[in-house]
Amino acid sequence: MPHDPTTAGTLSDGTAETTAETTTETTITTAAEELPTLPTDRRTGCPFDPPAELTALSDEPLRRLRYVDGHTGRLVTGHAAARAVLSDPRFSARYEHLHLPMPLAGLEGVTEMSPAPVGDFLGLDAPEHTRFRRLLTGKFTVRRMRQLAERVEQFTGECLDAMEQAGPTVDLVEAFARPIPALMICELLGVPYTDRDRFQEHVATLFDQAADVAAKGEAFEAVGRLMAELVAAKRAAPTDDLLSDLTTSDLTEEELIGVGGVLLAAGLDTTANMLGLGTFALLQNPGQLAALRADPGLAEQTVEELLRYLSVADPILRSALEDVEIEGQLIKAGETVTVSVQAANRDPRKFPGPDRLDIHRKATGHLAFGHGAHQCLGQQLARVEMTVAFPALLARFPTLRLAVPPHEVPLRDRANIYGVVSLPVTWDKE
């Protein structure tokens, strides 16, 4: 039986935490040894670019790929093919159908993954997935999220005040990138202020590339315990928040706890990476940074371009439930398809000059939030947070710059979500 307890280290709906197969399907893997494996090493190039070897494989939008357990599946690097796979219900997101294209960070020995834990709808297909998603989409609409902009502004201002007090050198991850999305998801869910640090610590372990299986298992259970306490409290005394609302839904106690954990983890570890890595990318592209600083009206399209350019949640895995033809190629039932979001978002047929960060570009149509039924549930919240936070940071610190040479910025190069571990920045004190 699968033995991994940590699949709830999942992200926004649409960014697959990967799993491996438990089916009896056997794939003939002739010459599998000669097939490429998924390139993941970004160390040699620009920290914002996909691994050079992955780019080299992107000459074909859809090709065969060798998986960790020897399975022969596919790699999608083309934008059109990625959209086709992600929007086709004949491709399953169920973890138990998937083979792993690369070892999981911190779980290197794991080749077989369990089905989604209760409440983790990211690893479900319709109609089970639909049931969960429908309960949540009303809480994350464009309108509701925009109504939170003022709160994001206010809290961003507090973070910037604290930075000024502490500066002129701080870790931007600690001071800015992490707290803003953390506060917002906690307020939405109804996690009391006093519980936030406890949750944050365990979620950090879940996503920590250095943490081992045992530590992750403990963290997973700890999040579950905290969430169970919280759900019980909401049931006893409902407040005006998402968890309280869900106590009146048809979700079982276990499902509600699971959903709460998934949403919290997704809120804590996704946008934070975009804010940290995004600031790093802007600092390394001073012309772009200056353009945004000069015209904060560019914030919305800057956010879309940063999402495209950085594609931090990658890859997305699917498994063919039946034979499917994509771009003239037959993908056989049982094959796992690895959709490389970072490669698809650098597809020159969709985005000319894709390796250039260009905030004047119309990056709309990028796949950073995925595509299809699992497209990120929290994307409108992420957009609001980033659209507010980036310009506010630049306006407050006109001389903001790295406090270390760029090659010394530690990267989350083996984490499920890419980003910076820390981002030491400094500025001139007036």
Binding site: K139, T364, G365, G372, A373, H374
Partner: protein, 77 residues
């Protein structure tokens, strides 16, 4: 086909909708989401010329294929 002067008619399938909000984000005034389930609501099935490009883009961006361009007949623009 993509002539912005050409009238168009929009339809939405709330059963297919996954509430991602791309339509409401891209073509506000043409599409919206209801507050309860967050599913697509067509505010203007035959948008005026100045909204058509955004409406077409929204159709292309929908992750679930839940909004569509149908015939151009009967549009008043």
């Amino acid at each position: 086909m993509s002539d912005p002067r050409e009238p168009l008619r929009l339809s939405a399938d709330r059963d297919r909708c996954v509430g991602a909000g791309m339509c409401a984000l891209t073509a506000p005034g043409v599409f919206d989401q209801d507050d309860d389930e967050g599913l697509v609501v067509v505010l203007d099935a035959a948008p005026a010329a100045e909204h058509r490009a955004a409406a077409r883009m929204a159709v292309g961006l929908c992750p679930a294929g839940a909004v569509a361009l149908t015939s151009a007949e009967g549009t008043g623009a």
